[in-house]
């Protein structure tokens, strides 16, 4: 019998949806729900929930199946870990973006209220104390975090940072790691000796003062994993020391000898083993079909496990927490088409209540299941492989052969894989193979892959490709992979030029001899030994299987992707391969990331890589995308966002080469799929005229199209233009409409403060100083994050010149604004005088010697000046500041300023509005760069004081 599933939170358990492209930002993202736990009595489920607005610590009442508390934590804070100390107290360790780590105890009090108790102590919860629920075992870090001491402490005392009555567990270990085994009432720890790469495991029977070393691990040539205590003299070990597979063995602590094998699987390495409080083996797990499988020996557990397995087919399940009495637990479910679900389940596994999903944004998307199949190689080895097909209604009939990295000791799984889902949702079949060298199938299988670069490994992959081709035909086949997979993708195409139509190699190794001596420190000795364990001995024949030496054999077009800071597959591998291919006019494209190592550390970069790869496949295989009318909203958004990501990369990404023309083309592609931001960007391009011929009519059309799609920046831009009368007739009603709409769509500091400008400067009846100041108040942004506050301050700096110059203020209104400015800019006084004013063109002068600063030097004095040629040259004003009575190096002076651009037809616009803010020391400046169109306009600079007076005004004419 299967489990009865109760629907608690989800409206639809199985979503009804079309198989369409899934947006990259939904797939390549961190889970929205993390660290799901159960209170010891099972009354609450707790979780760390991340959404766009804020991060929350949430409590779900398991009786009502309802979220009773969602505590906003702020985006600067990250819950690193948390623990239920008892049924009411939760200890949280919180990392702050810019500050020290802090700890809090959340105490549940009446009516679902939560009391927050900050504590100074740093450390972690080890275990509750079975004999006294008011006490816990707590590991306390020393101030410098070098040492960690273990205490048995009353929870109330912990909440008060009072360790005076706590019992310290004596030890002479320099360790930071403690755990407690309630079955045997022992404390365990381990130490790591970095010099000898040695791990020593010890335990202390409760009440004893003698630590007993029960295991030392030094040998790296075989697996050795502690699995649990059987009794106080025997432990369970998972090892392949004398066997091909990782098996379960008992180990005598005192004789230091292994017993016979307790359990082994004929085909797979064991992954874990579990014992009960009596030291009896309950069950083991191993990876089969790419998913963790459980084999239980206890009849009742076996029955419950069988019900779970029958209910959640083709998925991996495991308990992540249970109540103290084991009457219920949280089950996590994950599989190729299931990125993660949490169920509350009873001990007999008769009912499961769906609690939460890991990725809320994927909950209504159709995800593609994969199929596992097995092959037999010529020499009789069994090879595991996974194929994921796209849906029939969106199928490019293209097979992507995707070898994994490593190649030794790594394996593919059937778990949720964002990259596979990305391509399957875009109409591609994806084949992955656990070729020789992959982990999980025993030592012999793994060792067979060593040194088989371009040989046995690619034969295994080709066997899988041929098996699939017998079942299904494809119009195109391409190879794609990263790291070893990048190398393998190239070698497959070189070996089978008639099969592969294109190649995508990411972060690959292409010159195998370079692996052994890439630098003075990465060559010889231990480094060479580590390479030999994967690629075999250094030898001349490596050239025969190195793409750099065999580059002429590559016939298919190729996209090479690499990180310029990669120190595993050094960038040099990719660059020299690219060099040779380009020199021989091979069809090669590149995607190189600055500040990137062997793979991406950010989800955004993963999204870019996926989008560029998809676009490459589309172009090189001449695939026709469905038009926007044939896609649902989410499918359209996914395609549009891919194009916009590529455009952004060309437009402003610091980690890749800028190409404005390509950016413009890709924004146009995204705009075809109604991408609001791309429509806006096209408008902005026509507005600025930087990269296309300036066309204000087109600009406004694009802005309006983006605004119709509810894009807040378009509303803000239109609102500002109507407010300032920039290329449109000033219209306060229209300005209000657009600026209010922008804040409704996104109450960001940017939008709010633009609306504030409106309320301060608009004529009656729109004018509302109170609302203006309220929208700028920093407290509201502080509550979200320091970053939000910083953004808000930047926008206030930009708003102030407009407010001072354009507002008709009464004296009391002006005083309110001055008070506000004083608090934001920490002004000592409002009075300020300018001295030693230099007007003209200024040349950038690089520092002469070590430790000096770059300077700007006056070239031509005056306001009618010649343009200077260098990018860093500027025109404008340089001056010193005298603030009477103020003698400080702190930022206490603020001068609002703006540049007004006056076109030949008299049309004015405000390209730069800003507030200079600093200490009275040193040199101040207000500059503009010389651009191509600088000579076509007049440029007026205005500086203001806080009494709404212009303290400097000059008009520049540049020839």
């Amino acid at each position: 019998m299967d489990i009865r599933i109760l629907l608690a939170f989800a409206l639809f358990f199985v979503p009804y949806c079309f198989a369409e492209p899934i947006s990259a930002d939904k797939l390549f993202d961190d889970p929205d729900v993390q660290q799901v736990r159960l209170s010891p009595d099972g009354k609450f489920v707790s979780a760390y929930v991340l959404d766009d607005e804020n991060y929350y610590f949430s409590l779900i009442d398991t009786e009502k199946m309802k979220t009773t508390r969602s505590i906003p934590m702020g985006k600067d804070n990250r819950i690193d870990s948390y623990y239920w100390l008892n049924n009411t107290d939760i200890l949280l360790n919180i990392d702050h973006r810019n500050k020290d780590r802090v700890a809090l105890i959340f105490r549940l009090i009446k009516d679902n209220q939560v009391q927050a108790l900050p504590i100074k102590t740093h450390g972690y919860f080890v275990h509750d104390y079975p004999k006294d629920s008011s006490k816990v075992l707590f590991a306390k870090h020393s101030r410098n975090r070098k040492y960690t001491n273990l205490f048995l402490i009353d929870i109330d005392n912990l909440a008060n940072d009072d360790f005076s009555d706590a019992l310290e567990i004596e030890h002479d270990k320099s360790t930071n790691y403690y755990s407690y085994d309630p079955n045997f009432n022992i404390i365990t720890t381990f130490e790591y000796d970095e010099d000898d790469d040695k791990r020593t495991f010890s335990y202390l029977p409760w009440g004893s003062d003698e630590w007993i070393t029960y295991l030392t691990i030094t040998d790296k040539d075989y697996e050795l994993k502690f699995s649990g205590f059987i009794n106080q003299s025997k432990i369970a070990i998972l090892t392949n020391k004398e066997t091909d597979k990782v098996v379960l063995r008992e180990y005598d602590i005192y004789s230091k000898e292994f017993s016979d094998i307790v359990y082994q699987h004929p085909e797979y390495d064991l992954d874990s083993a579990h014992y009960n409080e009596k030291g009896e083996l309950i069950g083991v797990s191993y990876l089969k079909n790419g998913l963790r499988q459980w084999n239980y020996f206890d009849p009742s557990t076996k029955k419950a496990a069988s019900r779970i397995a029958n209910t959640f087919k083709n998925a991996e399940t495991y308990f992540i927490d249970t109540t103290h009495d084991k009457s219920s637990g949280i089950l996590h479910v994950n599989g190729s088409d299931q990125p993660g679900e949490y169920f509350l389940i009873d001990d007999k596994a008769t009912t499961a209540q769906r609690l939460l999903v890991s990725y809320q944004t994927l909950d209504d998307e159709y995800l593609h299941p994969s199929e596992t199949f097995y092959l037999t190689s010529k020499d009789g080895s069994k090879i595991e492989a996974f194929i994921t097909y796209p849906s029939s209604d969106f199928d490019f009939k293209t097979l992507l052969v995707m070898p994994h990295g490593g190649p030794i000791g790594v394996s593919e799984s059937d778990r949720f894989n964002a990259e596979v889902q990305y391509f399957a949702s875009r109409g591609f079949a994806v084949l992955r193979v656990n070729f020789r060298g992959s982990s999980g199938f025993g030592k012999a299988f793994q060792d067979q892959g060593v040194g088989q670069f371009g040989k046995l490994i690619e034969e295994d992959i080709t066997l899988a490709v041929n098996t699939i081709l017998k079942k299904k035909s494809f119009k195109h086949i391409c190879s794609i992979g990263a790291s070893y997979g990048g190398y393998s993708a190239v070698m497959l195409a070189m070996k089978h030029p008639s099969v592969y139509k294109c190649v995508i190699g990411g972060f690959g190794v292409y010159d195998l001899q370079l692996l052994y001596n890439v630098s003075n420190h990465r060559s010889g000795g231990e480094f060479t030994e580590s390479v030999e364990k994967i690629a075999g001995k250094y030898r001349e024949e490596l050239k025969e299987v190195s793409p750099v030496h065999q580059y002429r054999k590559l016939k298919a077009p190729i996209l090479l992707i690499a990180g310029k800071d990669d120190d595993i597959a050094d960038f040099e591998h990719t660059n020299r391969f690219k060099y040779l291919l380009k020199k021989t006019n091979h069809d090669v494209e590149t995607l190189f990331f600055e500040n990137t190592g062997h793979g991406h550390s950010s989800n955004h970069a993963r999204q870019i890589e996926a989008a560029v790869t998809f676009d490459y496949l589309r172009r090189v295989l001449n695939l026709k995308l469905p038009t926007k009318n044939k896609l649902s909203n989410s499918g359209r958004e996914a395609i549009a966002r891919d194009f916009a990501l590529i455009a952004d990369r060309y437009e402003f990404d610091n980690n890749t080469d800028i190409d404005k023309e390509k950016a413009f083309d890709y924004y146009k592609l995204a705009a075809k799929y109604d991408h609001p931001r791309s429509l806006f960007n096209l408008g902005a391009t026509y507005h600025s005229g930087d990269d296309v011929k300036k066309d204000l009519a087109k600009a406004i059309d694009y802005y309006k199209a983006a605004a119709d799609l509810e894009y807040e920046n378009a509303h803000k831009r239109l609102g500002r233009m109507y407010m300032e009368g920039e290329y449109v007739k000033q219209n306060w009603s229209k300005a209000k409409h657009h600026l209010e709409k922008a804040t409704q769509l996104d109450p960001s500091p940017d939008n709010n403060i633009m609306l504030a400008r409106f309320y301060c400067s608009a004529p009656k009846p729109h004018k509302d100083i109170h609302t203006c100041l309220k929208l700028m108040q920093l407290e509201q942004y502080d509550r979200i994050s320091e970053r939000q506050r910083k953004i808000a301050v930047d926008h206030i700096k930009s708003a102030m010149p407009w407010i001072l110059a354009e507002s008709q203020l009464t004296q009391s209104e002006l005083e309110s604004i001055k008070r506000f400015a004083k608090s934001v800019f920490e002004l000592s006084d409002y009075k300020v005088y300018l001295e030693n004013i230099k007007l003209g063109s200024f040349a950038f002068k690089e520092r002469e010697s070590f430790g000096e600063r770059d300077t700007m030097e006056l070239v031509e004095a005056g306001t009618h000046i010649q343009a200077l040629p260098e990018d860093k040259d500027r025109f404008g004003v340089q001056f010193e500041v005298d603030a009477p009575g103020l003698n400080t190096s702190k930022d206490r002076v603020a001068i609002p300023a703006r540049w007004i651009k006056i076109d030949a037809d008299g049309q004015t616009s405000y390209p730069r509005q800003f507030t200079l803010w600093g200490s009275p020391d040193g040199t101040w400046s207000a500059f503009l760069p010389f651009k191509e169109d600088t000579t076509q306009s007049k440029w007026k600079l205005q500086l203001f004081n806080w009494e709404q007076q212009v303290i400097l005004e000059r008009e520049f004419i540049i020839n």
Binding site: Q513, L514, N517, S519, G851
Partner: protein, 177 residues
Amino acid sequence: MNRLKAVALLILLLSGCATQVTSIKDGQTQLAKAKGYLLLSVETNRDLKTIYINGPQNISLGSKDIRAGSNYILVELEAGSYTFERIQLDRYWYMKLDEEYWQVTIEQGKINYIGHLELVRPRYWSGVSRVELVNRSSEALEYLEESYPVVLSNYPITNSGPGEDDFFDIAASLKKD
């Protein structure tokens, strides 16, 4: 990298007998007899003060040529074996380099690419977390093609840095095809 240590020392203690060298201009020089070109790139995240290299000629690279970023240096030197002695990070700190890892050979009549010296100093006041001489031959070749086409057409380029590598031979074979 652990064997590399930065030690505080007054600037006055520094030896001053090395000749400061700067890159040649393309096409303006002919290699003298028994001399070769040294090609090096210094990739650093902080401005550096001086790099001392000793051998048949004792030379130093000055602060203008080793600023934060990428700094290619092509200089003419007497042929022979050279050792990177130390890097003066700023006025107060220098790091001594381990001779075993920092020896290169300059062959006469050739452009001797010795590697990219990569240096990472996480903070201004901290020591160096990584310094390494890395083989980035293809980037060096692209740089020469762009900036020193005349020198490159007149002299063969060879890998004089760590390890064996025949990339320049493969690249040269393209020209013969």
